[in-house]
Symmetry: C2
Subunit: 461 residues, 2 copies
């Protein structure tokens, strides 16, 4: 006999067994339903692209993490490491065809060969939304609103901390630290991770003790949205288009009654260079210590590497894996082993067709229904007279109830012994039989739950 290859996956990669995959699919379906309800439309791009496209002129950290290789045609190719770069390429390529402004979502896997410490994976799923081709505050606000409401659809209240990169830069200009802006923003971005004292030390290295003190005064500003905006406006030299943008966003929050979800937080800067307007991060009210589960911001020139026309936009990205882990930590329900609401008990070989025909009656009504496949015993036919044909059959039936319970199936149906007979329905949770039922009875008993379960989250109640 040939030797056995040990079944295993690569470090940093994961299999998803049914309970986890059902939970993930449920998250994705709710997120997708929310995105669609705002008019975002899906796109898809290849997992594999020219390395030149994905890396641009860059390199650095990305270069170190990317899965890059030569294909059989000797092309220099790589797996995408985010959805932003392929979107930039996509917009440069199809801008005319798509028409602007354009709202897209993209939920897909990306790959990074990074260090696998701290629950980080080398294959993970991002859920991105962007509006490109609009510089309006309305677009900024819509991204904030869709994020807030997407988390609401997941049963989560969030606090979205936002800031304006441009206003921060105005402040830095005022204190004479404008040319160190990129380094300063990156340092401030680490505040939550490294603490205030370390941030002060690093800022002092960049811009001196006095500059560090003034920057910390700016980013430590706390209070209501209005209070913080007032202070930020003053510290940055008075009213400006940037402070005006934050002011109008505040009015939109009031108009939509969503103000409670937003915190104006000058410490939010986002490390990435391309943001130029609002930036934000999102924390779960149930456990902010998990860190940001969604972030994004406004950029001036998305597709600059691939096109001479600048395309501005605003977007957000949810890290699905971090979110799923957070929900698990919070003990939020979600995992179930099966979609099945009703199982038809297995019968003898000659009955399998009729049992499938019975199951079809439920499937046609939107009730997921499986026919159990008995494997443990011989001739174990289970039928509906409450009793069973023999001791062996009784055991076969008990095995099937156990199988249903393990799969989280709430009901098992035992068909009639003779055509035209009545049905018996086993309530697995209550460990009780309901006898003498018609098909219509069973549809009514199990149908309510099934309708709820199979409905998309954005359907009417």
């Amino acid at each position: 006999m040939a030797s056995i290859i040990e079944p295993r996956v690569l470090k940093g990669f994961r299999d998803f067994l049914p309970p986890q995959e059902i939970a993930r699919r449920s998250l994705i379906e709710k997120i997708e339903g929310s995105f669609r309800s705002y008019g975002f439309v899906p796109i898809d791009t290849p997992a594999l692209e020219y390395a030149e496209i994905l890396l641009g002129k860059g390199g650095g950290d990305t270069e170190k993490q990317i899965y890059r290789f030569k294909d059989k045609g000797d092309r220099d190719v790589a797996l995408r490491f985010d959805l932003t770069v392929p979107f930039a390429r996509f917009i440069a390529q199809y801008k005319q065809e798509l028409g602007l402004p354009f709202r897209r979502y993209h939920i897909a896997k990306v790959w990074r060969g990074e260090n696998t410490q701290r629950g980080r994976y080398r294959e993970f799923t991002q859920c991105d939304v962007d509006i490109v081709g609009s510089e309006s505050a309305a677009a900024d606000f819509e991204i904030l609103l869709v994020m807030r409401n997407t988390f609401k659809a997941l049963g989560l209240e969030v606090s979205i901390h936002l800031n304006h990169r441009g206003l921060f830069n105005k402040f830095l200009t005022r204190i004479g630290a404008a040319e160190k802006s990129v380094e300063i923003l990156r340092t401030v971005d680490k505040l939550a991770k490294i603490g205030e004292e370390e941030t002060r030390r690093l800022l002092a290295e960049i811009t001196g003790e006095d500059g560090a003190a003034r920057i910390l005064q700016f980013i430590n500003c706390r209070g209501t949205y209005g209070e913080v905006l007032k202070t930020m406006t003053e510290l940055s030299g008075g009213p400006s288009p940037e402070s005006g943008r934050l002011e109008i966003l505040r009015s939109y929050m009031a108009d939509t009654g969503t103000g409670d979800s937003f915190v104006l937080d000058p410490a939010i800067t986002r490390g990435l260079d391309y943001y130029t307007g609002i930036v934000y991060e999102t924390f779960l009210n149930d456990d902010p210590s998990i860190g940001s589960v969604c972030s994004g911001g406004r950029y001036d020139n998305l597709a600059g590497l691939y096109s001479k026309d600048p395309v501005s936009g605003v977007g957000a990205s949810i890290g699905l894996d971090r979110l799923a882990a957070a929900l698990e930590d919070l003990g939020k329900p979600g995992e179930r082993p099966s979609y099945t609401v009703l199982a038809v008990a297995a019968g003898g070989e000659e009955e399998a067709g009729r049992r499938q025909a019975l199951a079809e009656q439920f499937r046609a009504r939107g009730i997921p229904c499986e026919v159990l496949l008995e494997t443990g015993g011989r001739g174990g036919g289970a039928s509906a007279d409450g009793k069973t044909d023999s001791k062996a059959d009784g055991k076969a039936l008990v095995r099937q109830f156990i199988q249903a319970e393990k799969k989280g199936i709430p009901w098992v149906l035992m068909p009639p012994q003779a055509p035209g007979g009545t049905l018996t329905l086993r309530d697995i949770g209550a460990r009780q039989n309901r006898e003498g039922l018609s098909l219509q009875d069973v549809i009514e008993i199990v149908g309510g739950g099934a309708k709820g379960q199979m409905r998309r989250p954005y359907d009417l109640p």
Copy 2:
């Protein structure tokens, strides 16, 4: 200014723009809904695996097509080229945890660096279902039934041509050609592609003129399921477990009233070595010339490379890309540019919050609603008194109607000028306004269509 990188994708790879991606997602949602309704549960596995796992001892054609490289840790890795091999590895690894019998579905991308002629892509999507851990005819039939009904859910009538590998082998044994079985099956598998005369020539090379003639007699057998089964049984030496399996499947077809969808076809052999029981291919009644859109069969030992315990099963795979292309060729509707049912006209900057608040009323009722973002003009506020504020506003409004029409949005809503005023609804198709409406009126007018559109295909009507 830095030079521009030409935006492009790799040969054999594709971007999906919103209309195509919406059509694909709709297909996947319907297929997934059908799979779930039978009790199949989803799993996921990594795109990247150890090359050893994916290639086994093999090589040959697969080796030539696979995307294989060394990762940064010098591991020999590859992108999956199908979903069957990862599933075999998965079953070997988690069999105990999953419990058998086990029904799974997996819809995901796979990669093959093959020749890109004839509409073949290097990145494509497979939709697989399998039942493992059951040798029963009931499991065979369920796979046949789920495939028939999945296509029905897509609005397609199919003919599923099936055969039994074991019965074919019995026949080959009887004519003394058993040891050439693999070559013969592969040759017969090409019949539709290369024609009868070329098949006869190739078979004669393998097993002589007389053998070729007898094999062609066997595979050319036509008639009703019962007639063909009778002839096959005779030619293979009389009743056997294999002919019995085909007989019981026939009774299941009768029990479920699905006989019209199935053709017993001794010319179906499937090239792949691992099939041992039933094998089948699926043709669209609207255009069989497209070729098989779904195929599969029963195997005795799925996970043999990774485990000493044999696990038998039966499964099927739909090639999503071929199916999508077939639907397009057949002119089946499916592509639409947006999910949005209702668009709220753009207003001036100060109105954007209130217009989002209005849109939320529809989203909360499951009606996908977007707020248009005007970019073409200045101050273009559109409101509901049927007229507009100025000529500029009138133009802005027309631009928005055109935008809605391009996106396939049937309705545009113009909010009241003053709080408490009535709403005006533009029917984009009819090019007419309906004035003096309340919120409830608009919900009723646009809600019916929205409900239908956002409902999962397997929900109750």
